[in-house]
C-alpha cells in the first residue's frame, strides 16, 4: 500500500504528526498484501473534532484528531480497510455488501471504548483476573482415558480416526 505522508502543514502540531505516522505505519503493516479500494467517502471518522489532513493511497482518507496527541486511539483510520484486516486475522469473511454497515458499527464501538483515553492509569498494574489469582497446578498424573470416538462424534468430517481438512500440501 502507498503510504505517502500527507502534507504536514495541515497537522495541529508535531506530536499529532507522530501519532499519525504511527497509524499510517500500522495500517501499512496490517494491510500488507490487501488491495483496498474503498473510497474516501466511505471512510468512517471517529471523532467530531477530527480534521482532514490529506488523502493518500488508493483513495483512502486519513484524518487526525488534534486531541489525540498522546494516544493511538483511532483518531485516523480508514475503518472499512481496518475491518477487513481484522476480519482476516479473525478468519471471518465479510460480504462486500455488508462492509459499510459492519464498519460503521465497528467504528462506533471503538468510539465508545476510546472513552478510556481520558483516564489516568499511570503506574496502575493491569488486572487480568478478579482475584489476582494464580491458577492452581494439578498433580502430573493421567486422569483422562482415550475418548476419541465419543469426541469425534461431533466432528463434521473424520476418516480412520482423523479429522479431515482440505488438502494443505500440493
Amino acid at each position: 500500500m502507498d503510504s505517502t505522508p500527507a502534507p504536514r502543514g495541515h497537522l495541529a502540531n508535531a506530536s499529532a504528526l507522530s501519532v499519525r505516522d504511527f497509524i499510517v505505519a500500522k495500517l501499512s503493516s496490517v494491510r500488507h498484501g490487501k488491495n483496498t479500494t474503498k473510497s474516501a467517502s466511505s471512510s468512517f471518522v471517529l471523532r467530531n473534532e477530527c480534521i482532514n489532513v490529506g488523502v493518500f493511497g488508493q483513495g483512502e482518507s486519513v484524518v487526525a484528531s488534534p486531541l489525540s496527541h498522546h494516544s493511538v486511539y483511532p483518531a485516523m483510520i480508514t475503518i472499512p480497510a481496518d475491518v477487513l484486516s481484522m476480519a482476516q486475522l479473525a478468519r471471518l469473511r465479510i460480504d462486500e455488501d455488508a462492509l459499510d454497515d459492519v464498519s460503521e458499527r465497528f467504528g462506533r464501538t471503538l468510539q465508545l471504548v476510546a472513552e478510556l483515553e481520558k483516564i489516568d492509569t499511570e503506574g496502575v498494574t493491569p488486572m487480568s483476573n478478579p482475584h489476582d489469582m494464580n491458577q492452581r497446578l494439578r498433580p502430573d498424573s493421567v486422569t483422562e482415558s482415550n475418548q476419541r470416538e465419543a469426541l469425534q462424534q461431533n466432528a463434521p468430517a473424520v476418516a480412520d480416526g482423523f479429522f479431515l481438512v482440505p488438502k494443505v500440501i500440493d
Partner: protein, 492 residues
C-alpha cells in the same frame, strides 16, 4: 397440591409439599411440561425438551422421597441455559455454529444439580454465545417477556428468566458475564444471583469471557437461590479458577435480622441514565430495608460509566480468543465444499456466527492486535483495577451496595437491536460487578405500568451470605416477588 400452585410455588414450598407427600415429583414434572406446552409456543423460552429423561428422573426422585433419602432439591424441576454442556443433549449456545453439537460430558453445574436430585426438563433460549441483553440474537428466534409479549425478556439468560416467570420451572440456571443473569431477572420479575467469580465451576460452560463468566441460580425467591447456589458451589478440579474455599451454609443465616447493616448507595447509579420511575421504586425498596434496621450510606463508584468501555474491550478480547476454537474441523458448523483451509475457516465461521458475535470477535481481535494491545487491552485491564479498587473503597464504608439492576423496565422487541451501543447501556449497572468479580443479586422491587423492576444488591467478594440475607429479608417484608404475569394474550 393445586395445579396452579405447582407452577407458581417456590422450590422451597414445592420441596416441603414433596416431602409431605402432597404431590409427587412426577406430578410436578408433568405440570411443568403442561405449562411449557401451553405457553412456550408463544414465549419461546425453552428450545430443547427432555421429556423422556425428565419423567425417568422424576420417578427416581419419587423413590428417594418415599425412601426418606431425599434432599431439599430432590424432585424439583429445573431448566438449564443452553450454554451448559449436557451429556447426550444438544447444547447450542443459540448459535448456528453449534446446532448439531451433542456434548460428550456434563458441565460441573449440571452434574452437581443432578446429584442434588433435580429433574432436568430441558434447555433455555439465550442470546447467541451469551452476547446480548435481549435474547434477540438467538438462532432460534426471540424469547418474549411473559409480562408483555411485545417486550424482550432481557438477556443473555432471557429464556431462563422468562421460563421461571411464566411457570415453566421453579429453577433455572443462568450465566452472567456482564449482567446476563441480573438484567433478565430484573426485566422478568424474578430473583437472579451472579455469585463471586470462582464460587461456581465453569467446567462445561461454553466460554465467552473467561475472566468474567460465572454461573448462578435464577429462581422465584432468594431462599430458592440460596438452596440452588449451595448445590452449584465449590472447588472443582476441572476448573483451575474455581475457588478452593469452604462453601458456607447459604440457607442457615437467611432469617437473621439486618439491623445495623450498612447499605451503600452509589450516586453514579442514579444518574441521567436511569429511568426516574425506576429510581423511585429503588428508593421505596431501600426504605423497606431501612425499616428493617439497615442504614443507608452515600458512596461513590466514580468509574461506573467507564465500566462499559472497559467491559467492551475485555469481554470481546477474551471472546475473540475463546471463539477461535470454532474452525469447522473438530466440531461445530462446517461450510460446504471448502476450497482450501483458509476458505474452510472463513466460511465456516462467517456462516456459523451471527452478526453481534462477529462484531465482538472483530473488536476483540483489534484490541489484542500488535500495536493496539497497550492502548486497548492493557489500558482496559488497568481501568479494571481502578473499578475494583472503587468497590474495595466503598466496602470500607458499607456491607452491601444497592441500586437498580437495569436502567429501565423491559423494552419493546426490536427497539435496540439495530443499535448495539444502546443495547450495551442496558448493562451499565451490572458489568462493573463482573469486572471486579463480586457477587450481585437482582430481586423484584415492584412494577411500573405492569412491568417488573429489579433491585440490585452487590456484595463483598465471596460474601453471598450477606446478599442472600438482605434479599431474603426484603422478600419477608414485601410481596413484590409474588407478583406473577397473567399470561394474557398467550395462546393456550
Amino acid at each position: 397440591m393445586a395445579l396452579e400452585s405447582l407452577t407458581s410455588a417456590s422450590a422451597t414450598e414445592l420441596s416441603l409439599a414433596l416431602q409431605a407427600g402432597k404431590t409427587s415429583a412426577l406430578e410436578l414434572t408433568e405440570a411443568c411440561f403442561d405449562a411449557i406446552a401451553a405457553h412456550n409456543p408463544t414465549i419461546n423460552a425453552v428450545i430443547t425438551l427432555c421429556e423422556e429423561s425428565a419423567l425417568a428422573e422424576a420417578k427416581a426422585a419419587d423413590l428417594q422421597l418415599s425412601a426418606g433419602t431425599a434432599g431439599p432439591l430432590t424432585g424439583i424441576p429445573l431448566l438449564h441455559k443452553d450454554i451448559f454442556c449436557t451429556r447426550n443433549v444438544a447444547t447450542t449456545c443459540a448459535s448456528k455454529m453449534l446446532t448439531s453439537f451433542i456434548p460428550p460430558y456434563d458441565a460441573t453445574v449440571v452434574s452437581r444439580l443432578q446429584a442434588a436430585g433435580t429433574v432436568m426438563l430441558g434447555k433455555t433460549n439465550m442470546d447467541e454465545f451469551a452476547m446480548g441483553s435481549s435474547t434477540e440474537t438467538s438462532v432460534f428466534g426471540v424469547t418474549r417477556n411473559p409480562w408483555n409479549l411485545n417486550c424482550v425478556p432481557g438477556g443473555s439468560s432471557g429464556g431462563a428468566a422468562a421460563a421461571v416467570a411464566a411457570g415453566f420451572a421453579p429453577l433455572s440456571t443462568g450465566t452472567d458475564t456482564g449482567g446476563s443473569i441480573r438484567q433478565p431477572a430484573s426485566l422478568c420479575g424474578i430473583t437472579g444471583l451472579k455469585p463471586t467469580y470462582g464460587r461456581v465451576s465453569r467446567l462445561g460452560i461454553i466460554a465467552f469471557a473467561s475472566s468474567l463468566d460465572q454461573a448462578g441460580p435464577m429462581t422465584r425467591t432468594v431462599e430458592d437461590a440460596a438452596l440452588m447456589l449451595q448445590a452449584m458451589s465449590g472447588v472443582d478440579a476441572g476448573d483451575s479458577t474455581s475457588a478452593d474455599l469452604e462453601v458456607p451454609d447459604f440457607t442457615a443465616g437467611l432469617n437473621q435480622p439486618i439491623a445495623g447493616l450498612k447499605i451503600g448507595i452509589p450516586k453514579e447509579y442514579f444518574s441521567h441514565n436511569l429511568d426516574q420511575r425506576v429510581a423511585e421504586k429503588i428508593h421505596e425498596a431501600l426504605n423497606e430495608l431501612v425499616k428493617e434496621g439497615a442504614e443507608l450510606v452515600d458512596i461513590e463508584l466514580p468509574h461506573t460509566e467507564q465500566g462499559i468501555a472497559t467491559y467492551y474491550i475485555i469481554a470481546p478480547a477474551e471472546a475473540s480468543t475463546n471463539l477461535s476454537r470454532y474452525d469447522g474441523v473438530r466440531f461445530g458448523h462446517r461450510c460446504d465444499n471448502p476450497l482450501n483451509l483458509t476458505d474452510l475457516y472463513e466460511r465456516s465461521r462467517s456462516e456459523g456466527f451471527g452478526e453481534e458475535v462477529q462484531r465482538r470477535i472483530l473488536v476483540g481481535t483489534y484490541a489484542l492486535s500488535a500495536g493496539f494491545y497497550d492502548a486497548y487491552f492493557k489500558k482496559a485491564q488497568q481501568v479494571r483495577r481502578l473499578i475494583s479498587e472503587d468497590f474495595q473503597k466503598a466496602f470500607e464504608r458499607c456491607d452491601v451496595i444497592a441500586g437498580p439492576a437495569a436502567p429501565g423496565t423491559a423494552f419493546a422487541l426490536g427497539a435496540k437491536s439495530d443499535d448495539p451501543l444502546a443495547m450495551y447501556l442496558e448493562d451499565i449497572y451490572t458489568l462493573s460487578v463482573n469486572l471486579a468479580g463480586l457477587p450481585g443479586l437482582s430481586i423484584p422491587a415492584g412494577l411500573i405500568d405492569g412491568m417488573p423492576v429489579g433491585l440490585q444488591l452487590i456484595g463483598r467478594s465471596f460474601d453471598e451470605t450477606t446478599l442472600l440475607r438482605t434479599g431474603h429479608r426484603f422478600q419477608l417484608c414485601t410481596d413484590h416477588h409474588q407478583a406473577k404475569p397473567t399470561l394474557a394474550g398467550v395462546n393456550p
